[in-house]
């Protein structure tokens, strides 16, 4: 079979066509493979009233909140991991002006994973044994319970999350959108299958033959993919295992950048609004090449019969 309908397009076109004002948008990736390139393009195109969903909002949602893209945040851990706070997020929640007040809907990681799992399976809810004794269900009335039809015990439930668009960054994809990733895979598969539209952003565009040489590594099949964007270093300052390391210096720097609303706006002016695309973003900071990954190749396995 040759699935030869290429879906390769530019980031600009992909965001213009598949991300609309008012959408629920998911840019997933647990520390790994967070697509900053897509977030920046959404800011540049001035999207508004988005519901941003993600386990860990991370710097990219902090930037999108500061840029005024978000109406609501659905999440489970909002911090700068190992460093400190997401200050744009905090200002919006704590009502300290600058950033527009933000609606929130809050779960734990397991709750968010369960919401994506339900969405991906097209079930209206997912059961989990959780939340007893916590104030989370009180703060979020969408956390409910269901009685087990066998044991009678009450289990917690969360409702399905079915985003309008999910953006998945990956190491490699073919032109039709068959996508492979390795290292931490987070909840990307579930978020993609839960979504109405999926944009795949790949470090490398590969031949269909590369995908077919190792089918167990395929996480996302072309049939659920709307667009394929080829964007090397598109996850920086997040990372791509086997391609480049995380830019921990930038994560540390974000603490002071985001603490000061005017510095944050200057950052956006320079590195987001001030560049037309990711290539220009990278040209401004040649030092990122220091993060290029060393080689630690695995051996192949035999698929013969």
């Amino acid at each position: 079979m040759t699935d030869d309908a290429s879906k390769v397009t530019s980031m600009r076109d992909a965001i213009a066509r598949f991300v609309h004002d008012g959408d629920t948008v998911v840019i997933e990736g647990f520390t790994h493979l967070i697509c900053f390139a897509a977030g920046h393009e959404i800011i540049r195109q001035g999207r508004r009233d988005l519901t941003l969903a993600r386990l860990t909002p991370d710097l990219i949602y902090d930037q999108m909140i500061a840029a005024g893209c978000a109406r609501k945040l659905v999440f489970s851990w909002a911090g700068n991991p190992g460093v400190g706070s997401l200050h744009a997020f905090r200002r919006a929640i704590e009502g300290r002006a600058t950033e527009r007040r933000l609606e929130i809907e809050e779960y734990s990681h397991f709750g968010m994973v369960a919401r994506f799992s339900a969405g991906a399976a097209r079930l209206p809810f997912w059961p989990l044994r959780n939340y007893m004794g916590t104030d989370l269900a009180k703060a979020n009335p969408r956390i409910k319970t269901v009685a087990c039809p066998y044991t009678g015990e009450a289990l917690a439930t969360v409702p399905a999350l079915n985003p309008g668009v999910t953006i998945v960054h990956a190491q490699r994809a073919d032109a039709a959108g068959n996508t492979q990733m390795w290292g931490l895979v987070g909840v990307q598969k579930e978020a993609a299958f839960a979504s109405e539209r999926v944009i795949v952003v790949a470090e490398e565009l590969v031949d269909e033959e590369v995908i077919r040489s190792d089918p167990n590594r395929t996480v996302i099949p072309s049939m659920i993919v709307s667009a394929v964007v080829v964007e090397p270093w598109g996850a920086h300052p997040s990372y791509a295992q086997g391609y480049y390391d995380r830019d921990n210096d930038f994560y540390v720097a974000w603490e002071s950048i985001s603490r000061d609303p005017s510095r944050l706006q200057r950052y956006l002016d320079e590195f987001v609004h001030g560049v037309p695309d990711r290539a220009a973003y990278l040209e401004k900071q040649p030092q990122v090449t220091r993060l290029k990954a060393k080689e630690r190749f695995s051996a192949g396995v035999n698929y013969g019969f």
Partner: protein, 247 residues
């Protein structure tokens, strides 16, 4: 002939849940004839397979080597089928009834069966979720009773209730492809009605193989015989050892 007729029902680019035997032949014929971008998914977890030999089971290693994706069965049923990604499903069975209900479980009573058949496998959920299903079965009155002994895979009406009332996402069996004719589900009643005859077959001959009074479509179609290209592909390329083709 049945393989060729089934192949013609598939549209380019569709996602098809494939079984072994005739459905597999039909899909591979369609890919070579008019639907090169057909995506084949096997319930074993192989997606986009391009088998180098005719697979003898849905778990054949040839379906894995060079496929686009291999996933676990929890993903097959939850992320592909229940998610609504499967457009066409093929079903067959020992009994098919007036409303396209299929029995692959037991002949006789469930607790004391005369013949114990293999059971559902994935057929029950394919019948519920695939956007449409195609039933492939040879005509004979015992295989086409008014009502099946056991409903393994629901058709257009089960025990009096329509699919929509029962909350089934898919449209159910739209056609039954037999060795003599094509039956089609009536959009209103859900009944399988005679829609088109194979060359040289009379409506009476079809009725003789069906255990209920067949309604005929207002205008009976004529099924074109397999073309030279279809025959050549089936006999010389797809099944040269005649594993699944018999005449």
């Amino acid at each position: 002939m049945m393989a060729a007729v089934a192949a013609r029902e598939l549209r380019d680019g569709e996602v098809v849940f494939v079984g072994i035997g005739l459905p597999n032949l039909a899909c591979n014929l369609a890919r070579r004839m008019h639907a090169p971008r057909l995506v084949l998914i096997y319930e074993s977890g192989a997606v986009g397979a391009v088998p180098e030999r005719l697979p003898v089971s849905i778990g054949d290693p040839a379906l894995v080597t060079g496929s686009l994706m291999v996933c676990g069965m929890a993903d097959v049923f939850q992320l592909f089928l229940q998610n609504g990604r499967i457009e066409v499903g093929f079903l067959g069975g020992a009994q098919v009834d007036r409303y396209g209900n299929i029995n692959t479980t037991v002949i006789g009573s469930y607790d004391r069966p005369t013949v114990r058949l293999p059971g559902s496998g994935g057929a029950a959920e394919i019948a519920v979720h695939a956007h449409r299903t195609l039933i492939v079965a040879k005509l004979n009155p015992r295989g086409f009773p008014e009502q099946v002994d056991f409903i393994t895979s629901p058709g257009q009406r089960s025990r009096g209730a329509a699919r929509r009332e029962l909350g089934m996402p898919g449209r159910g069996p739209v056609k039954v492809i037999t060795d003599k004719a094509i039956l089609e589900a009536n959009g209103t009643t859900g009944e399988m009605t005679l829609a088109a005859l194979y060359p040289g077959v009379s409506a009476e001959a079809v009725q003789a193989g069906v255990g209920w009074p067949l309604t005929r479509a207002p205008r009976l179609g004529a099924v074109a015989p397999p073309s030279a290209a279809e025959l050549r592909l089936l006999r010389d390329v797809l099944d040269p050892k005649r594993l699944y083709l018999r005449g």
